[in-house]
């Protein structure tokens, strides 16, 4: 297989949600053929650049998954299967990326805010951002204002993602932004927010930089606003 074919195969299998050879895909008759794990290992063995694998194998395919999700062609389980592929591929690639000294797109701190334990959406966003080349620092759920701002500071992270699924916890996002201001680091970090009860209007009201309907919007937005 040429390098190009290999990358296309990786992208194809991410879209099919096939982590390993034994997995079925979205289409019929794929069982037994190499999945993302095998293909990524092959690509590394053939000497492909890890960065190239991320960009051409993972990032583009997740964009395609995003479009399918948008069109209702893919449902949540389909999207999760693809996200799992990206997660597995990134686990294999991370050490190589570090060795090669590849600069990622920057540190992205993400957390579900205090009082809120919903993490499914946040986890998807975290995986997708990893696949898109960001160094994700996932703090988990129910994270206090203090811990979030401390993590942004310690890591000098240029990006912060906040998730809240409850109308009772969405206000905590505002407190986080307030705290960033008080500590004088608000202008050094872009704050993205998401979760069912939030909206563009809410993001504006609390002074966040952006509201993201889903993980794909976050990636697109970062691509266009960040140079």
């Amino acid at each position: 297989m040429t390098a190009h074919e290999l990358l296309e195969k990786i992208a194809f299998n991410v879209i099919q949600g096939r982590v390993e050879a034994e997995d079925e895909g979205f289409d019929e008759g794929l069982e037994g053929q190499p999945g993302v794990t095998e293909l990524v290992n092959d690509a590394l063995a053939q000497g492909l650049e890890p960065k190239e694998i991320v960009l051409k194998g993972l990032t583009t395919s997740m964009e395609a998954v995003g479009e399918k999700f948008e069109r209702n062609e893919y449902l949540i389980p389909d999207m999760l299967a693809s996200a799992e592929c990206v997660g597995v591929a990134m686990d294999i690639l991370s050490p190589h990326l570090m060795k090669a000294g590849v600069e990622g797109k920057g540190k992205f701190v993400i957390a579900t805010v205090a009082g809120d334990l919903h993490d499914i959406g946040k986890n998807i966003v975290a995986i997708m951002l990893k696949g898109a080349g960001y160094q994700v620092i996932d703090l988990g759920t129910d994270i206090s204002v203090e811990r979030i701002t401390a993590a942004v500071k310690e890591n000098q992270a240029p990006f912060l993602g906040l998730s809240a699924l409850l109308t009772t916890t969405m206000r905590v996002m505002e407190e986080v932004i307030q705290q960033l201001k008080e500590e004088g680091i608000r202008d050094r970090v872009k704050v993205l927010i998401g979760g069912a009860p939030t909206s563009i209007e809410f993001a504006q009201e609390i002074g966040a930089d952006a509201y993201c309907k889903d993980a794909f919007q976050a990636i697109n937005l970062l691509k266009t606003t960040v140079t």
């Binding site: 949540i76 334990l117 759920t141 129910d142 109308t167 206000r171």
Partner: protein, 266 residues
């Protein structure tokens, strides 16, 4: 089987509009339909109005109880909203809900023990969502122990094993079913309750999934459900499942429902 009618929830667009406009006629109509369809409690939830939740919840309590002679299920994570709404409630309400999260447990406990009422207790640990059957059983047992120590009668406790979407994790169906069975076995007299619709989140044909899931829950011993009682198919499924499992003496409820037209001929 105790039925809590779920339709008065401001996360539904038409309800939110009616609440904002204080359109009591519409709310009364939704309440009456659920009462006629066999609801034992009417759930009221104004949770999407963060700043005015308490005010709106009080209005819902008065509006619904003015028209319908049923107790309500006061549904809010906010102790403040609940303590105000409860003042307007006639009879013994159901408080939805308490959980092991630190502040929430203490705040809710003082509300729950202040007057006779039933309480929904969520199987959440202090810091995490439950994943496995064991997580749920552990949280459920701890809730039951802590509530009964404070004097809450076992029969007034409704353990909610927290239904999560199978679209996100296919183990979630079994996790709830296993928990219901063990909790009902280990604590005779306690109740279990589920909101059904989370199970089908993100999937097509949700009504089919919810209905099938309800049957399986009843098989495991579920004693109460938060659902749409005006959904005739769902109610027919509930009644026939109970009957088949020997929970309907002389098939009385089933036949009665059939004669009232709640169950259709085919």
């Amino acid at each position: 089987m105790l039925i809590v009618g779920e339709n008065i929830n401001t996360s539904r667009k038409r309800i939110a509009e009616a609440v904002e406009k204080q359109d009591s006629a519409f709310i009364v109509q939704v309440a009456k339909k659920q009462a006629d369809a066999g609801a034992d409690f009417i759930d009221v939830n104004a949770g999407t109005f963060v700043d005015r939740e308490a005010e709106y919840l009080c209005w819902l309590v008065k509006t619904v109880q003015d028209a319908v002679d049923l107790p309500l299920c006061l549904d809010s994570p906010s102790p403040k909203a609940l303590s105000e709404a409860i003042k307007h409630h006639r009879g013994e309400p159901m408080i939805n809900s308490i959980s092991l999260e630190k502040d929430r447990f203490d705040d809710m406990l003082s509300i729950v023990t202040a007057q006779p009422c039933r309480v929904v207790a969520l199987c959440m640990t202090e810091t995490a969502m439950p994943v496995t059957v064991e997580d749920r059983i552990q949280a459920g047992a701890e809730l039951i122990n802590r509530l009964t120590v404070e004097g809450v009668a076992l029969g007034n406790i409704y353990i909610d094993p927290l239904v999560q979407p199978v679209s996100v994790d296919t183990r979630m169906g079994n996790a709830v079913l296993g928990a219901i069975k063990t909790i009902m076995n280990d604590f005779p007299g306690v109740n279990t309750i589920c909101g059904l619709s989370n199970i089908s989140f993100g999937l097509p044909a949700r009504r089919l999934i919810n209905s099938t899931f309800l049957s399986l829950c009843i098989l495991q011993g579920l004693s109460a459900a938060i659902l749409d009682p005006t959904d005739k198919r769902l109610m027919a499924n509930l009644l026939s499942t109970r009957m088949i499992l020997g929970k309907d003496e002389y098939c009385g409820d089933f036949i009665d429902a059939y004669q009232k037209g709640i169950i259709n001929k085919e």
